[in-house]
Symmetry: C2
Subunit: 343 residues, 2 copies
Amino acid sequence: MKQKLLFTLMVTFLISCGGKQDDEQKTQLTPVEEQTLYDRAKQLFGALPDKMPGSENDTEALIELGKKLYFETKLSVNNTQSCNTCHDITNGMAGVDNKPLSPGAIEGKIGTRNSPTVFNAGFQFAQFWDGRSPDLVEQAKGPILNPLEMAMPDEKTVEKTIAAIDEYKEMFNKAFPNVKKPITFHNIAVAIAAFERTLVSKSRFDDYVNGNRDALTVQEKKGMKSFIDNNCIMCHTGPLLGGSLYQKMGLINPYENTEDLGRYEVTKLESDKYMFKVAMLRNVALTHPYFHDGKVEKLEDAVKKMAWLNLGKELPDNEVADIVAFLNSLTDKNLENRKQAKK
Amino acid sequence: MKQKLLFTLMVTFLISCGGKQDDEQKTQLTPVEEQTLYDRAKQLFGALPDKMPGSENDTEALIELGKKLYFETKLSVNNTQSCNTCHDITNGMAGVDNKPLSPGAIEGKIGTRNSPTVFNAGFQFAQFWDGRSPDLVEQAKGPILNPLEMAMPDEKTVEKTIAAIDEYKEMFNKAFPNVKKPITFHNIAVAIAAFERTLVSKSRFDDYVNGNRDALTVQEKKGMKSFIDNNCIMCHTGPLLGGSLYQKMGLINPYENTEDLGRYEVTKLESDKYMFKVAMLRNVALTHPYFHDGKVEKLEDAVKKMAWLNLGKELPDNEVADIVAFLNSLTDKNLENRKQAKK
């Protein structure tokens, strides 16, 4: 026991004396490394577009209606929940509720997967962790009727509830001109989706990719280099750094939570077991806890774990720290001054 | 034995009677499937740019010089080989020699890895199978001095050889104005790279991504869908469908040829064992044989094998056929009428 203590003390001493990690973090990249990194960032990721696909047809009236509906608690069975309850975009929240799984409107009910952020969601190739909805419109319909979420009994009840509110009549008429009966379940989702298409969330990383090389710190750039060199880019590519393909959770080493079969639940294909949509990493520093089951609280642990599960790598702590620094540069500029939430 | 024969005959009979595969291939995609596929193709791949990075500074004089040097057999020790010998761009060749490994200038010598195509090479993030050169200039220097390739003894000899040819003096002066002694080993590579940057090779796939939905056949589109849905896009992404990251050859199931350690030879990192640059798939139908060791002759076998090695999937024959059809749509339009080389 004494020997173990002595050893621990020695190791601690050696680590504190070394200071190598600190020095490395301060080391500037060479001009050639800078240029190479910049070229690859442009090639692999690119900046986020200003507009979301489909937004070209969104009118102000439609967006305004969608916004009201997004915050509408009457869309839940007991008037307790709106879209914003689980995908909170107010008070500096990053479009999530920061809970592992989200409680539903009915007491005691709880969702089965972590609520993903609504920011930039419409840039993704599919919606939900298992991609079961192709777009924001179909996505918006899900939670309203899901008994574990907003728990409305059926589409007709939703339509009646909204139609009974005077204010909506005029708004729907403006948003859907020349439509005889505009208040339909589908149109509610269409409007919500239009509002969600305005939730484009840009970060310092976009400034960097657009040419401002000083938008990222040295450590953030080194983290991006680690992120690229360690092949995180295999799945986390494109301007969202994710949201463009499905991947097996535990590609190399199996994930311990084997309950959720992922996309298999949609397709019933054996090859889709444990496949999930690759999470986009935009705003990831603020959207803890992590993974489809929300089982990992800290971003550094999520990075370490993913490297082990899907790349078969045990990343050293300094690389993890660099990658986490890089991931922080993907935070919305308006949210960046918010303190990184509970660690 | 008789029983086995009977069984084989029965299976053959059932397959020929079925005709299901043929019907499937003729089935049109629904308008929604068409749109989804198109959106994903744009997002995941995108069209090839018209110009290669760095080409904005290439003058006509530099390109002309580079072209002459590209075909210059005096760059090999016994005047037998030029760049074009292994990366043949004449007579409908797709920038390769279609040999598993390439014989060198010195009889009996042979290269250690399959010669990759020069078409579109400058769009890649690094050069050589192991990425040991960052760009075309550094790449061009390699084979000239490699004893297994053009086998020139040293840089000075190369410079003297070229300087002794009158025609080059004027060409170098034009290509490198205001440079006192322009004929250097480095400048030879600079000129060759400038010529190679003109070798942008576009295909019907680019027409499709640029908006001509009819540029691909139904089977090619279905093949693209299989290519995406089976996660080939995990590595084969971007406008080259590859050439943007390293990946382990045998990510899920080990590759049987364990001799070549790939990028490990460059970095000596354990994690780089069997890592190779992901091959771009532009012109892949014409660049057989396949893989870094050129061990696979047919494209369908390469598709099957990669699916097994890196995705852990046994693809059914009809999906392989569709994917191969899609890969054929990546062939340079000028080369497309060339008969697909020996099967």
